[in-house]
Every structure is written in C-alpha cells, then in structure tokens.
C-alpha cells in the first residue's frame, strides 16, 4: 500500500542527500505522505502512544541508571537515595515505575484492538507475531526492572519466576543455577538483571522497527476490516490527519499518566516492596505486578508444578498461532455478530483471571457449608475458557457464523452516498 514514493527534495542539500542516503524520503513516505485509511478510530492511536511510552522508559531509565547501584548491599538504599537526594529523582523514578504500568495499559488496549478488529489476519500475520514478540520482551524487561529496587516483592518475585525454570525436566536445576549465578537469588542475579534490563528496551526498539516496517508493507487495518481499494477515496495522508489524531489521543493518555505520577504514584505498586529484601522471610502474600496477574492465576490454577508452568507460557505462546486458528474470512467484529459477543466474554475472562491472580488462592467466593467455591476454582474455570476461546471458538465460529454484509469500500463505510463522489483530501 506504500506505493510509489511521492517525495520531491525541496532544495540543493536535500537533493544531494537523497542521492546518497534517502533518509528524508523514508521519513516522508512513512510518516507524512503515508496513506492511512480514512475510517481509523481512536483505538488506532495506541501505536503512537506505545512509541511514546517506550521513549519515556528509555530516557528516564538511562537517567536513573546514573544513580542506581546494582548490589544487594546498596540497591535498596540507592533507590531511596534517588527518591530523597537526587534532584527530581522522585519524579524520574515515579515516571519510570508508573510508565511501566502505562506501557502495559496501552499494549493491552492495542492487543485487544487487534483481537476485536481481526488485525492479525492475512496479510498481517507477521505484523501480529512481531507484536507478540514485543509483548514478551516487554514482560521480561518489566520483570527484570521490578527486581532492581531489591524490596521484598522484588526478591520473592525473582525467586518464584526463576524457580519456574526449575520445573523443566532434566535441565531445570542447572538452568536455574545458571540464571542465578549462585545457589539462590543474590548479587550475581541482581547484577545481570540490571544489565539485561538495560539491554532489552533496545531489543524492543529493534523489533518495533520491524513491526512498523511490516505495518507499512501490508498497510494499516481499519475498523471496517476491508482493504483499501481506491487510495484517493479511501485514504488520507498520515500528516496531518493521523499525526494530529495520535497527538490528541496521546494528550488524553498523558493526563491519565500524570494522574498516577503526581496523585497516586504508589497506587499500582505493592507496599511490601518498600521493605528491603530478606532472603529468610517470605511475605505472607506474594503477587506480581498487575499486568502479569492473569498469567499468575493460570500458573496457580494447575495443581501440578510443570503443568502450571507449561500452561502459563502456553497462554502467551498460543497468541503466535492465532492467525491460523481463526477460520473466519471476515476481519472486523463489527460484522461478526457471534464473535463480537465472545470477544467481550474473553475480555471479561482475562479481567477475571487478573482478579484471581491478585487474591489468596483459598479465598472463598461463594460459601457452601465448610468450604465452597474459592479463587482456585474460579481460576480453573477461567483458564479452561481462555484456552477454549483460542482452540475451540476461533476455529468453530468462523465456520458456523453468518457474517453481516461488508461495506463496499472504506469510503462507503464512513461517508453518506453523496459525498463519495468527492475524493478524500
């Protein structure tokens, strides 16, 4: 959909540069003249918002690394030093810590947008897979980062997650020792997690470039889920249309971001992480950060250690093959009456799993006699639904569902019949 380049160098210097390194042409064709479907709604602004989040995390992270000390002796104290002594340290750290949460809020909206509008379907499978890869890298980065303040949740979170690898048959034990660099989570672990926490955002940036490249090869999806037929009628140039819309979405998002940073900076965190790590005492209630809770619930729902680990990783791995599990030719849920309903049930199941992950596993939800229906029971039902949604509903719905008629064109889906005669822009 990128089509022919429309770039014409304006002066002698840009003409000279264009013959040697056509970087201005690349920018122009990707972010200025790039044709975007004219029917994009605000759910399509999250790509830009996510780019902003990544930039914020990298910039604040580089600055924080100038003051942080990755040793078990000093890590906790150096974070407090950042909070109390370093100029604007409190601001930088709160932006970075809450920035991780905001990053995940944005990525979850972005992913559910993709699920709702069928953005993963041909010819955008590779685009989707690269996205899932970014999501995986994000979770790893967030996990490494959460360990660095060396509070109780940092330490015990690191212990539980690294122990997951111990469940792997045969090599599990030695793999775990290798990850730790010792016989428990300790100095070598903290040091390497710091190194990797610094590295991974740049890996994310690399995959983001591939993600955007793939996007610009296949062209953006859109709420109608149909391809561009006539670029003149169906698309508008990226600048100013998408740029301004993205900017407005970003400002609204920044308001939410600022609320957390300035008015509720610890609202999404765990108070236990303000207690320094103690390898001899596990807090009574270990929970990961909110964005990992659904997977934690799946892990705990399985009574078998290896089985729980397999299902937890399987819950993410299944996203990679989603493009081939969905048998429906229709992309957008707007025209899929059955899928539309199951989409919301799935969203509710994910939120439900998140709730379960944050609760004590034996908490009774509905009392019956001595026992009753507890959080583990609910997690089990929701885990079964999670996998059934992918393995049963996606293949079956496409076969039995009768989709609504698709609009003739993108222009026809948003414009009254009369206006369609006029070319866009």
């Amino acid at each position: 959909m990128s089509g022919e380049s429309t770039y014409t160098p304006g002066n002698g210097f840009t003409r000279w540069l264009d013959d040697r390194l056509p970087v201005m042409r690349l920018v122009n064709d990707s972010f200025v003249d790039y044709p975007t479907p004219r029917n994009l709604n605000y759910w399509w602004t999250f790509g830009g918002i996510l780019t902003f989040c990544l930039a914020v995390q990298i910039v604040t992270g580089i600055v924080l690394a100038m003051h942080y000390i990755p040793t078990t002796e000093l890590a906790f104290a150096s974070v407090e030093h950042i909070m109390r002594d370093v100029n604007y340290g409190w601001l930088l750290r709160y932006v970075h810590a809450n920035g991780a949460s905001m990053f995940f809020i944005a990525v979850y909206i972005h992913m559910f947008r993709g699920l709702y509008y069928g953005s993963y379907k041909a010819p955008r499978e590779v685009l989707w897979i690269l996205g899932v890869l970014i999501y995986l890298l994000m979770m790893a980065t967030a996990f490494f980062g959460y360990v660095l303040p060396w509070g109780q949740m940092s330490f015990w979170g690191a212990t539980v997650i690294t122990n997951l690898f111990g469940a792997i048959p045969l090599v599990g034990e030695s793999l775990r020792t290798w990850l730790w660099g010792g016989f428990a989570v300790g100095d070598p672990t903290l040091n390497r997690f710091f190194s990797l926490h610094y590295l991974f955002p740049f890996l994310i940036a690399g995959v983001v470039i591939l993600h955007v490249w793939a996007l610009h090869v296949s062209g953006q999806g859109n709420p109608a889920g149909i391809e561009v037929k006539d670029p003149k009628k169906d698309t508008v140039p990226f600048t100013p249309y998408a740029t301004i819309k993205d900017a407005f979405g970003l400002v609204i998002f920044a308001v939410l971001f600022a609320y957390f940073v300035f008015y509720n900076p610890n609202g999404l965190g765990e108070p236990d992480n303000y207690i320094e790590a103690n390898p001899l005492s596990t807090p009574a209630h270990i929970v990961p950060e909110w964005y990992l809770l659904p997977f934690y619930a799946i892990l705990r729902a399985v009574p078998d250690k290896l089985g729980g680990v397999v299902l937890m990783f399987g819950a993410i791995a299944i996203l990679f093959v989603l493009p081939w599990l969905d048998t429906s030719k229709v992309r957008s849920a707007r025209f899929r009456p059955l899928y539309k309903q199951f989409f919301w049930i799935f969203a509710a199941a994910c939120i439900g799993l998140g709730y379960c992950g944050g609760q004590s596993p034996d908490k009774i939800l509905i009392a019956v006699g001595d026992g009753g229906f507890d959080v583990t029971d609910l997690s089990r039902i929701l885990t079964v639904y999670y996998f059934a949604h992918f393995l049963i509903l996606f293949p079956v719905l496409g076969l039995i569902e009768k989709p609504k008629p698709l609009p003739e064109s993108i222009a026809a889906s948003v414009l009254p019949a009369k206006a369609q005669e006029k070319p866009a822009s």
Partner: protein
C-alpha cells in the same frame, strides 16, 4: 566449472564443508565463555560449606541459618515430633521417604533423630515456609499452601517434593558442617 559433475564430491566441496565445520566449532568455542560466565563463580563456590554450633538449641525449638544464600532450618525435635514423623505410613506420602532417611548418624554412629536439618525452601516455587505451622506441626508455605510434616516431608499442596536435606555431617555432638 562447467565440466564438474554435481553428484561427485570434489576437492573443493570437501574444503567448503571442512572450513564451515571448523568455523562452527570455533563459533561455539567463542560462545561458551559468554554462557559459562553466568554460572556460579569461584567466590560463590568458596562459600559452599559452613559450620554451625547447635548446642544451644533447646528441645522443641528451631534456628534458621544461612548457607549458600539459602535458609537452613535446624530443628531440635521432641520425642513427640519424632514419633509423629515415624508413625506415618510411608507409602501414603507424595514423596515417600521414611523418617530415618531424613536424619543422619552422629559421631557415635547412631542416628541423631532429634536433629532435623532441611533447606528452608519450599520445593514448589522457592518461598520460605513458616515453622510450626500447618496441620502436621511441621511447616506451612504461605505462598501456595504446601504443608510439610515434622520430618519436612510434603503432605499437602502443590509442592512435588520433600524439603531438601542438605549434605551435612556432625563434627561433634554440638557442631555440624553443612556442605
């Protein structure tokens, strides 16, 4: 090159394969230090054994010491606790092990049944269990609810194995060396 037959390996093919193989071996050799540097280093391994004085622990009490960065529970078991651990039908346990296999012989050659030494790390996902809690008077893990008995054996919950008994020996009646 036109007269070379593709189905007949030539001297040149051999050189290609041999060079490629050597390059692969060289690459693997260069990668290995990058991987192995993450394994426990000499200073970590140097702390692999430690001695502890256990003479001051009264019957029915327990201390926690640190070995290789892990908590080690040293419990001075009472007669009742020993009896409780021995009375269990071993075959009914998830990880069957008689109590005798969980204690070691002292300097006199007799089993020191009153001393239970276990690694205080839940075999599920590595939390530290709470002592003298849970329905078997042994340990209870607050993370995911595993329950261990007075021999540190798993009785209930998601943990697959008994609490690990570290390698240790009695140096005298009141001194042990772990590791």
């Amino acid at each position: 090159m036109a007269e070379t037959h593709a189905d007949e390996p030539t001297r040149r093919d051999f050189l290609y394969v041999a060079t490629g193989s050597l390059a692969a071996v060289g690459a693997a050799a260069a990668i290995w230090p990058l991987i192995d540097q993450m394994n426990p280093d000499a200073s970590v391994l140097a702390l692999a054994s430690a001695e502890f004085d256990i003479g001051a622990i009264p019957v029915g009490q327990e201390i926690t010491v640190k070995w290789r960065g892990k908590p080690i529970f040293i419990r001075h078991r009472s007669e009742e606790e020993i009896a409780e651990a021995e009375s269990v039908d071993v075959s009914s346990l998830p990880d069957p092990q008689p109590d005798d296999a969980r204690v070691i012989a002292g300097p006199g050659g007799e089993l020191e049944k009153q001393w239970l030494v276990v690694v205080g790390i839940c075999t599920h996902l590595g939390c530290v269990p709470l002592s003298y809690r849970g329905e078997y008077d042994g340990y209870f893990c607050p993370c995911h609810g595993s329950v261990y008995d007075t021999s540190g054996r798993i009785r209930k919950g998601p943990a697959p194995l008994n609490l690990e008994v570290p390698p240790y020996e009695f140096l005298s009646d009141t001194r042990i060396k772990i590791g």
